[in-house]
C-alpha cells in the first residue's frame, strides 16, 4: 500500500495553509511507501537549503518508520546510532519528518518539512498528515 499523488497533493496544500497561518515559508516533500518523492513544493522565498532537507526528512522518516526527531535522540555522541546521518546519502535526524499511515495503521509514505524552527517544521508536517487520514 502506498499513498496516491492526490493524497500527497492534499497533504502539501494543507501544509502550505498551516505555514501561511504561522507566517513561515516552507519546503514540503511527500514520499511514497518506497521512499521516492511523490510531490514537492517550495513556498516563495523559502530557504534554498531547506529543499534538500525537506526531502531528506521525508525519506528518513520512511527509511526507519519513525519521526525524524526520534532518530536524532539515538544518533548523538555516545548514543547507539551515533552518526547514522552518514548513511543513505545523508539523513536528517531532527524534527520535521513524519511517517504517513492509512486507516489500517499501515505506513504508506512520509512527509518532510523544512524552513523554520524544528517545532514549526513539525507542526506544519502534522497539518499535512491530517489532510490524509
Amino acid at each position: 500500500m502506498s499513498l496516491t499523488l492526490k493524497q500527497a497533493e492534499a497533504a502539501i496544500q494543507a501544509a502550505q495553509q498551516k505555514a501561511q497561518e504561522l507566517g513561515v515559508k516552507m519546503n514540503i516533500a511527500v514520499v511514497d511507501a518506497g521512499a521516492n518523492v511523490t510531490a514537492f513544493a517550495r513556498m516563495d522565498g523559502a530557504w534554498l537549503g531547506s529543499l534538500d532537507i525537506s526531502i531528506k526528512k521525508a525519506k528518513t522518516a520512511r527509511f526507519f518508520d519513525m519521526n525524524t526527531g526520534e532518530i536524532g535522540k539515538l544518533s548523538q555522541p555516545g548514543g547507539p546510532l551515533y552518526n547514522i546521518e552518514h548513511s543513505n546519502n545523508g539523513l536528517i535526524s531532527f524534527p520535521g519528518g513524519i511517517p504517513i499511515r492509512n486507516k489500517s495503521d499501515e505506513i504508506i509514505g512520509a512527509i518532510g518539512v523544512s524552513g523554520d524552527t524544528v517545532e514549526n517544521d513539525h507542526t506544519v508536517a502534522e497539518a499535512g498528515i491530517q489532510a490524509i487520514q
Copy 2:
C-alpha cells in the same frame, strides 16, 4: 525574475491533465530561475526512474536556456558537445525539458517531464508551459 510556486503548480496541474488525456503517467518537475526545484509531482504508477530524469530535464533546460532535445543534437558521437551529459551531476539531453519564459520573454524557470515516449514527454511539458504564459 523567477517563477512563483503558484505558477509552478499551475504548470504541473496542466501537465497532469494533458497526460491523462494522452493516457500516460508522468513525472513532472518545475525549477525556478536558479535551477532549483520549485514543485514536483509523480503520477500514480509512473516510472520510478523518471523521477530523476524529469528533474534533470528541467535543470538541463535552465542550465543552457534551451530545449533539452537541442542539446542532444549537439552531444552525439562526433558532435561538438559529445558527452556533455557528464557535467553538472548528470544532464538529460533528449526531449521533455523546456525553459519557461514570462511575457517579457525572460527565462524564469523550466519544466521537465518524463514517463513515456520523448514525443509525449515534450507534448506534456508544452501543455504545462501554456498554463503559465
Copy 3:
C-alpha cells in the same frame, strides 16, 4: 535581485587586501542569489582543503540567509539542528560565510572565506562585503 560579477570581483579584491594585511592566505568564494559560484580566488600558498570549504561556506550562508557560524550554534550535539551538515552535499557551519545584502537589505548572494582561524576567516569575509555595500 542577484549580485553582478563586478561586485563579486570587488569583494574578492577587498578580501585579498585584508588577508594580506593580516598576513594570512585565503580561499575566497562569492555566490549569487541562486547560490551558484560567481567568482573565486585562492591566494598563493593557501590551504588546498580550504578551496571546497570556502565555497561551502558561501553556499551555506545563502542556503539559510544567515552567517555560517549561527548554524553551527544550532547543529551541536543535543542542539535542534544536530548534524544538519549532512544536507546539501555538505554544509560548513563555522564562521567565515556571510550573506551579502544590497542597500534595500535584500540578499543578493554570499561570501565564504577559509584559510586561517575562523575569526580571521570571518574578518576577511566582512572586508569583502564592505566593498559591495
Copy 4:
C-alpha cells in the same frame, strides 16, 4: 612550478575582454599545476550549466596535459579512450580547455572556458593564455 593567483587573474581578465569583444557570456576557470581551481569568474547572464563545464574543462586539460578537444577525438565510440568522461567525477572532452605553459614550456596549470560555441570557448581560452605567456 605552478601559476600564481596574479597570473590566473590576468588570464581571466583577458578572457573576459575577449568574450566582450565577441559579444558572448562566459564561465572562465583557471586551475594550478595540481589541477585545483585557482580563480574563477562567471560573466553576468552566462549559462548556469557552464559553471561546472568550465571547471571540468580546465581540470581535464591539466589531468592529461592536452587540449580538451584532443581527448574528445579519442573518446568517441570505437576509439581508444571510449567514454573516458566517466572518470575523475566527470571529464569534458570538447574544446575550451587548454594547458598553460611557462616560458620554459613547463605546464603550470590550465584554463577552461564555457558559454558559447566550442569554437568561441576555445578562442576565449586562448586569449586568457596569451595574458600569461
